[in-house]
Amino acid sequence: MDVALPSFYYERLFEGMLVTLQVLLYAFLIGVALSIILGVARLSSSKTARTLSLIWIEFTRGISSIVLLFWMAYALPILLGIRQPSLLLMGSIALGLNMGGYGGEIVRGAIQSVPKGQTEASIALNLSEFQRLRYVVLPQSLRVILPPMGNLTIEILKGTALVSLISLSDLAFEGTKLRTSGRLNPDAPSAAMLFLNILLIYFVLSQIISGLYRLAEWRVNRRFEGARTEVELPDATTTTAGAG
């Protein structure tokens, strides 16, 4: 059995992969922004913000991403009176909303894992609420956020395959098109080989994503451990001056 496909297959699949990565990028950006907003809002001192973010999270987590995707693609444009919606944008928003719901809970858990003394210290230092989050709490929670966020990003990569069902020409869509056109051609590679190749492409992509996350985790951890040893060094004056 020959696993490799003819080269024009790979050209088509590559074009599909670009669409997949594009959807992934948009969904990721929306998802991360929503995660931070929702995670912080869940722990806000305002009761309205807490309740609204809880409802939002339960809604986006409870509804299936595929149902949300179809609703965003086919129902929302009619309700809003948009004739020609950009399906790429709608699909990315649907996946991003889904990611935001799960990510919000990750961020909330991570913020809660930061020792309370850090918050108290930043209040004592007279930092504003925003400064406290931006410079003290969120950087420290990053260590806890990254591993589950990596898994979530891979889930969203898998979720991008769904946009093929609303006729976006992503990797999965190109695959089904190639299968249909190949049925008329007796020399075409079998469906098994075609789908195996697509599965392998997704697998490689997800391994790359998890590699990137591991790299980020390593860098974040190094920064933390570096900071700690600097404080513990006996002749702190020389080393801290360099690290600034």
Partner: protein, 298 residues
């Protein structure tokens, strides 16, 4: 797995079925109380009974070949026609039943296969554990949609022709078995090392070790994670529409396809139908999680 959590053993006015021989309980009675295995506990039996009834009802009314009967259309020119919306409800429920049925059957498969995968992955024989670990990693990081296409279009070529619903069940089962195996692995790791050492000391064979020492202690810790996987599987089950399973999404697509601009009501309806199932289930899983955490600390 301790007797202290068993409400049957707390003293009450009409007691003593559990005390051996029906004798009056002495103050310093050192005979161990009879502890039923967890699967003989009344709660477990009631739960299993309900599950069987629900499954039977689903099987009866949500057969694999559902025909959607409503033929109504929205009033022309309206953005949201309520009468059309209500007319769609019976068909939606029929589609939902198929989706729920596929989820439960697929998850039953996943729960069993996941345990097998988890045990195989822990195997000391590398010829078994490495391919299993690779398989789990591969299936976990590739989309279920493509896996379904693979099963649906490739297996018939290899001589396995299946109904679409069976393909969906198989696909969901294999996909979520890899998730379940991770949950089982965490549960098995949570069993104290002393239990393993005790089985060695008692000279128990591997089958007895797993079936009567490790698994009964691991299962309660795994239940919340499995519950979350079940909800996740339910959210992925509409994917069956892409391989012609007449589930909830196929219903909406069919209804939307009947006339131009008719997508609002059916897609909104299935969204509501979904939330009606998944939010209570998520709530139940969270209750279970809290309860188990409470029992463990007591």
């Amino acid at each position: 797995m301790t007797s202290t959590t068993d409400p049957e053993l707390t003293p009450s006015s009409g007691h003593d079925d559990d005390v051996a021989g029906g004798e009056a309980p002495a103050h310093h009675d050192l005979t161990p109380p009879k502890v039923r295995p967890w699967w003989l506990h009344p709660k477990a039996l009631i739960g299993a009974g309900i599950a069987i009834v629900v499954l039977a009802v689903l099987w009866r009314f949500g057969g694999g070949d559902v025909r959607f009967s409503t033929d109504s259309r929205p009033a022309p020119g309206s953005t949201f026609d309520w009468s059309y919306f209500w007319a769609l409800v019976p068909d939606m429920l029929r589609g939902l039943a198929v989706t729920v049925q596929a989820t439960l059957a697929g998850f039953a498969l996943a729960a069993v296969l996941g345990l097998v995968l988890a045990i195989a992955r822990r195997s000391t024989i590398k010829v078994i554990s490495w391919p299993v670990a690779g398989f789990i990693e591969f299936v976990r990081s590739t989309p279920l949609l493509i896996q379904l296409f693979f099963l649906y279009y490739v297996l018939p070529g290899w001589g396995f022709t299946m109904e679409a619903l069976v393909t969906l069940i198989l696909g969901l089962g294999i996909h979520y078995a890899t998730y379940a195996s991770e949950a089982y692995r965490a549960g098995i790791d949570s069993v104290p090392k002393g239990q393993w050492e005790a089985t060695t000391a008692l000279n128990l064979g591997p089958i007895t070790t797993w079936s009567s020492v490790i698994i009964p202690q691991a299962i309660p810790n795994v239940l919340p994670a499995l519950g979350n996987n079940l909800i996740a599987a339910f959210k992925d089950a509409p994917l069956g529409a892409s391989i012609q399973v007449t589930g909830i999404l196929a219903f909406a697509t069919a209804a939307a396809g009947r006339s131009f601009d008719a997508g609002v009501e059916p897609y909104t309806l299935i969204g509501i139908g979904f939330l009606m199932v998944s939010i209570p289930s998520a709530f139940a899983v969270r209750r279970l999680e809290k309860r188990l955490a409470y029992e463990r600390t007591n």
